[in-house]
């Protein structure tokens, strides 16, 4: 029988030592992981919508830190694995990487409608929970996926709210009957713009509101709004309902001033475009007056639960101190989305298995005003937080900032500039 040489012995010992160290390391890292709930976060941190993606991630991080400071979930700390997803291909690839290589069991994100659909498809294929906090594409929740959830309203809700604002209050303030109120739609052509515009158009038709034009454009190549503005000047709409991203909203409004397009009101939906802080900064005094449907910029404390009001105030204070900008839009969606997720995870005891998360999510029933942003929570079977629970607010640019002006019970300031003054008088 062959004997083991001293050299081979040393080699075997070395291997044994490596195996021992590796085993200990694996155990210890497992131990650390057991105290964490690892969540994959997909956000566009580069590319054209990186600004809003960054804001959303800031909000999500703030929510995570607050939850962790308050003891975490079932004694475990929330931990992020963040991936940058500037476009649809990256969204699908990164979702796949986080699941297969990082071992993530729950994905969240993604700000944009062009990202949430491909990312959630990957999650569904891998039987991983997908928790969307902001995209609004209506198709997102119509694909029959069992483990795909969305806390934010969908584009149908955006469109519905826009027209509801016109029906309930704007037409009265303008002194024009609904059947005589001429409305023009202006929309970028992604699923956000199309979904919102189609839903609003449908609702406007139900209410017999005259629609004078519907214009779609590609926001990535839009360098001149003259053709649309001249058309609108000829059609003389009273109200423009726009679905725009930010650079196009800034350019449209700048050219509307240049070409003296007079309209009585302009409104949009979402945290981009007229609702983005960049719109106010870029447009200066011209920004005064447009409306944007989104999360609240200040809430009447009487309209929300007491603890929610206090929490809102604390979050806004911390956000503004940490990120040196006003807490709003995209960040609010991130915070509320994670806060609702935490409610669900508390019910599952931190378990990320799809079945448990689904039954916990569907069991949540929080009335409007009981959640951050003044929202409520009631997930439908298709994973969408019911639009009527995701309370939305009409904000208006006043004195360089957005303030909540509608619905009345949530409002913190009265509406101004209705109708919008002529450009020459501003």
């Amino acid at each position: 029988m062959r004997t083991t040489t001293a050299r081979e012995c040393r080699l075997l010992r070395a291997i044994a030592l490596c195996v021992f160290v590796a085993g200990a390391w694996t155990l210890s890292s497992d131990g650390a992981c057991q105290n964490q709930i690892k969540i994959g976060v997909l956000e566009p941190l580069s590319g054209p919508i990186a600004g809003e993606g960054r804001r959303q991630l800031n909000g999500m991080e703030l929510a995570r830190d607050l939850i962790n400071e308050r003891g975490g979930i079932a004694g475990k700390q929330l931990a992020w694995v963040v991936a940058d997803v500037p476009d649809a291909t990256a969204a699908a690839n990164e979702a796949s990487r986080l699941i297969s290589q990082e071992g993530v069991k729950l994905l969240t994100g993604t700000f944009s409608s062009s990202l949430c659909v491909p990312a959630s498809e990957v999650a569904a294929r891998n039987n991983v929970v997908y928790w969307e906090v902001s995209c609004v594409d209506p198709r997102f929740s119509t694909r029959g996926y069992k483990n795909t959830f969305r806390t934010e309203i969908d584009a149908n809700g955006f469109g519905w709210y826009n027209i509801e604002f016109v029906r309930e209050t704007l037409h009265q303030k303008l002194g024009i009957e609904l059947k005589n109120l001429k409305v023009a739609f202006l929309s970028e052509d992604s699923s956000y713009g199309q979904g919102t515009t189609e839903a609003a158009k449908k609702r406007a038709q139900e209410l017999s509101i005259p629609i004078v034009s519907v214009d779609f454009y590609n926001r990535n190549t839009m360098t001149d709004f003259t053709p649309i503005i001249l058309k609108l000047k000829a059609l003389r709409p009273d109200v423009i309902i726009a679905s725009a991203y930010t650079n196009d909203a800034i350019l449209f409004w700048k050219q509307a001033k240049q070409l003296d397009l007079e309209v009585k009101a302009i409104l949009s939906a979402g945290a981009v475009g007229f609702g983005s802080p960049d719109f106010g900064k870029s447009s200066g005094k011209s920004a005064e007056g447009p409306f944007a449907l989104l999360e609240p910029a200040g809430l009447n404390p009487k309209a929300v639960a007491k603890d929610v009001a206090a929490l809102e105030a604390e979050i806004a204070k911390r956000y503004e101190a940490k990120y040196n900008e006003k807490y709003g839009g995209s960040a609010q969606l991130g915070v509320a989305g994670i806060w609702i997720l935490a409610e669900v995870l508390r019910k599952t005891g931190g378990d990320l298995s799809p079945e448990k998360i689904r039954s916990a999510a569907l069991s949540l029933d929080i009335p409007v005003g009981g959640m951050l942003n003044g929202w409520g929570v009631k997930f439908r079977e298709d994973g969408q937080n019911a639009n009527e629970r995701v309370q939305h607010y009409m904000l208006q640019w006043q004195d360089g900032r957005l303030v909540t002006v509608w619905p009345e019970r949530f409002a913190v300031a009265p509406m101004k500039y209705v109708p919008l003054p002529k450009w020459s008088e501003r």
Partner: protein, 293 residues
Amino acid sequence: MEALPQLIASAIVLGGIYALVSIGLTLIFGVMRVVNFAHGEFLMLSMYLAIGLFAAFDLDPYRGLSVAIPLSLLFGALVYYAVVRPVIGRAHVVQIFTTLGLSIVLQNVALLLWTANFRQLRLPYGDRVVAIAGAAVTLPQLIAFAVAAAFTIVLFGWLRFTYLGKAMRATAQDPKAATLMGIDTGKMLLIAFVIGTMCVGVAGMLMAPLFSTYPTVGLQFVLVAFVVVVLGGLGSAVGALLGALIVAFLDVMGGFYVGTAWKEVLYFVVFIVVLLVRPAGLFGQRGAEELGV
């Protein structure tokens, strides 16, 4: 009909903007045969420079040109020696990936330095409207067009009548023959790249008051610029201006009479037709499009 004067005026100023971006590209693409995918990012950097100069020194972009021109010449030379020269003469795919890589690097550097927020250079007189024959044009738009026209004339004259210009055209037409005629083609390539970069540097300064600035703003203009350059003819300054005006007219008129969603369809159809009839573009040197490609 009422809208016609405004449509024409808007198309002309938009054409001026497209021409500003395209003139630099036509030199780089036309003379060097390098598809510079980072051209849009050069534009973006210059727009940030305009914002920075205005914020820090209260220097408007027009006076700021005195800083931007030398800086962009220097930047052009730096990029040429560091990135472009090593890939000249290599396979096109190598050149494309190199400039595409540069473009991604510059976008991300901008993202880190200035975040993804949309910024707008707001000049005190930026919204001042000049009324011309029933059309309203803003002062920065008018200046941008005037500069584009002036640049076209100067570049046209330079390429046509100076020795250096002729040498450059010879390099564009046939680099090997040009070398045999005693032209230092290496120097010509450097000059083409540096002047092309300077042109886009000027374009960025003039466009900063007109458009939002953000790390990927270049993408909005660079595709149109490639269309303009090929349509007008590689290496032709006049071709770039006319190509830009054609695309802008199709943009604006098509947007008004047919629909905004159709504008790209229109100018790409014209683009394809022109290339079928005149493969060298409207003003391109016949045969030049085949060389070195």
